[in-house]
């Protein structure tokens, strides 16, 4: 569990980067920080591993005020993907990923296995990429090495600052999927910064929207942030198409299904596990405007709208 308690950061030059920020991230949750550039996301993240010390307020990690903890020990238990990647140019990809295990004194064969598994996970087959140097990788590949490096010891806390910013959309979607699998029922507590609202919605248990002056506008589930923005700033930030974004993370509700009709034989069909986004896409391409959901019934445009509105109301 990570708790920020009225945390403020004023840099020596007088810039107020974070203002009276309070939030609690339960153990095992994924919290996503979003907000305009310069609103203090990176600063907030760096106060968790004490790369930045708060001007006032407290940061509590695993029950202890970080101000009282040795920063080196604290950081070794926290995986950190820095915004600018920061690979070590003189070391191979494998050696970069092995950094923390080596610091912790793991045995060589254990390190080797772990590193190769991680490289596979981030889509960089170790036999091809393991012995390369960072300058022999593309920007997106370097970013993925940075992610693998942060995951190396499977840390209880993971801080990721725009980890997939330079990765192409297809690979990014795959990585998000992998991260979801990894995080969904794991006990890793994650703080993720992204500029991609869809990524925030897809990965976050909760989303923290930060305003331009470094204070928290809303901290709530994706459904709530998109469905019921707390302030005009949040509504503006998540965009007028916020409910469209919601479709991708809203499940089909059986209560909104209409009974099957004899003419529905030719209607497109989707499984119960489909998202409303897929349903909507199928409705748009069907002649009747009806989509069969398994054998359970049919969804129409009205059904999609009702499902979304009910989800928002229930959130």
């Amino acid at each position: 569990m990570i708790t920020l308690d009225s945390v403020t950061k004023v840099y020596p030059d007088g810039t107020t980067a974070v203002q009276d920020l309070s939030l609690t991230i339960p153990a095992g949750d994924v919290a996503v920080l979003v907000g305009p550039s310069g609103c203090g996301k990176t600063t907030t993240m760096r106060m968790i591993n004490r790369l930045v010390d708060p001007t006032s307020g407290r940061v509590i990690v695993a029950g202890r005020d970080t101000a009282t903890v040795d920063p080196v020990q604290l950081r070794r238990s926290i995986g950190y993907v820095i915004q600018q990647v920061g690979l070590f140019g003189h070391q191979t990809v494998r050696r970069n990923v092995a950094t923390v295990p080596i610091l912790l004194g793991w045995r060589a064969d254990r390190i080797r296995r772990r590193v190769d598994d991680l490289l596979d996970l981030v889509g960089l087959p170790p036999e091809t990429y393991g012995d390369r140097y960072p300058h022999q990788l593309s920007g997106g590949q370097r970013q993925r090495v940075g992610v693998a490096r942060a995951l190396a010891i499977d840390p209880p806390i993971l801080l990721m600052d725009e980890p997939f910013g330079a990765v192409d959309p297809i690979e990014r979607a795959r990585l998000q999927q992998e991260m979801r699998q990894l995080l969904i029922d794991g006990d890793t507590t994650v703080v993720l910064v992204t500029h991609d609202i869809d990524e925030a919605v897809r990965l976050g248990d909760r989303i923290a929207v930060m305003g331009p002056t470094g204070h928290l506008e809303q901290f709530a589930s994706p459904l709530e942030v998109l469905g019921r923005p707390a302030t005009p700033f949040v509504a503006d930030f998540v965009g007028s198409d916020r409910l469209v974004r919601l479709l991708g993370v809203t499940a089909i509700d059986v209560r909104r299904l209409q009974p099957l009709h004899p003419d529905d034989g030719s209607a497109p069909q989707l499984p119960m596990a489909a998202t409303l986004r897929e349903v909507l896409a199928a409705i748009l391409s069907s002649d009747s405007g009806r989509v069969r959901i398994g054998d359970a019934g049919v969804l129409t445009m009205a059904g999609v709208r009702e499902t979304v509105q009910a989800a928002i109301a229930g959130a």
């Binding site: 080196v72 140019g89 610091l103």
Partner: protein, 245 residues
């Protein structure tokens, strides 16, 4: 000239070529050892703690402004040191310190801040950041400083002969004294050849100690992506504004 080099007597004894070369080498080694011992750790440490950038550059520039010859005469005329190799060793060390100090400082200081940031973020101690990240990444720059200093010292060690020291300078000084142009030019030729050989050896050594990924693709006299060492160690700009952390 060829006859001079062909004369076996010039290759023997305490005034022969091998003996003078050895003297020259010993003077250079001692002065470089002295300069490296002082300047390298100091520059590295100041770069690591990011302090006193102004002072380091000032020392660099000041050091360059001290006329080695004048310092040599001064040391030689000072009783405790006197006319000897020692005067030359100290004067040459003073001469070698600025490039080593400045390059060590700049080399560490200019290491990619993102890499040191990530290193700290992953829980390296200050010492581990220095040993595992800053030092390896700054080898090309630090080595360039040492190499520049070495070649300059080897060339300048010629002056030792002026204060009664040994070395290849003796041939030139003696040749001058005896109005013997052959001897003088033979000395100059020997010094030139020695400098070229040392430069080549230093370049090869620099390449060997540079981490593979940071090596230039083909052997080259200058490290890739970096200004020539002689230019680099004059750098004064951008040293005193701390990069974003």
């Amino acid at each position: 000239m060829i006859a001079w080099f062909g004369d076996p007597s010039h290759w023997q004894g305490s005034a022969g070529i091998p003996a003078r070369l050895l003297e020259h080498g010993v003077i250079c080694l001692w002065s470089m050892a002295l300069a490296i011992t002082i300047a390298l750790p100091l520059g590295v440490w100041l770069g690591h703690v990011r302090r006193l950038g102004m002072t380091v550059t000032s020392v660099g520039n000041l050091g360059r402004a001290i006329p080695t010859f004048a310092l040599l005469i001064l040391l030689a005329s000072w009783e405790p040191i006197g006319v000897s190799d020692l005067a030359a060793i100290i004067a040459l060390a003073v001469f070698a310190i600025p490039p080593i100090l400045t390059n060590s400082y700049v080399g560490i200081r200019e290491v990619d801040a993102r890499a040191t940031d990530a290193a700290r973020g992953m829980g390296m101690t200050g010492r581990q950041v220095l040993q595992q990240v800053e030092l390896p990444l700054s080898v090309p720059v630090i080595a360039a400083g040492v190499r520049t200093a070495t070649v300059q010292v080897v060339a300048t060690a010629t002056l030792a002969a002026l204060v009664g020291g040994g070395g290849l300078g003796r041939f030139v000084v003696d040749g001058f004294g005896r109005q013997d142009p052959t001897l003088m030019f033979a000395g100059v030729l020997l010094i030139a050849i020695t400098c070229i050989a040392v430069e080549g050896a230093a370049a090869a050594l620099q390449r060997v100690i540079t981490p593979r990924a940071l090596r230039p693709p083909t052997p080259s006299l200058l490290p890739r992506h970096r200004p020539a060492p002689s230019v680099l160690w004059k750098t004064t700009a951008a040293l005193d504004t701390p990069p974003p952390r």
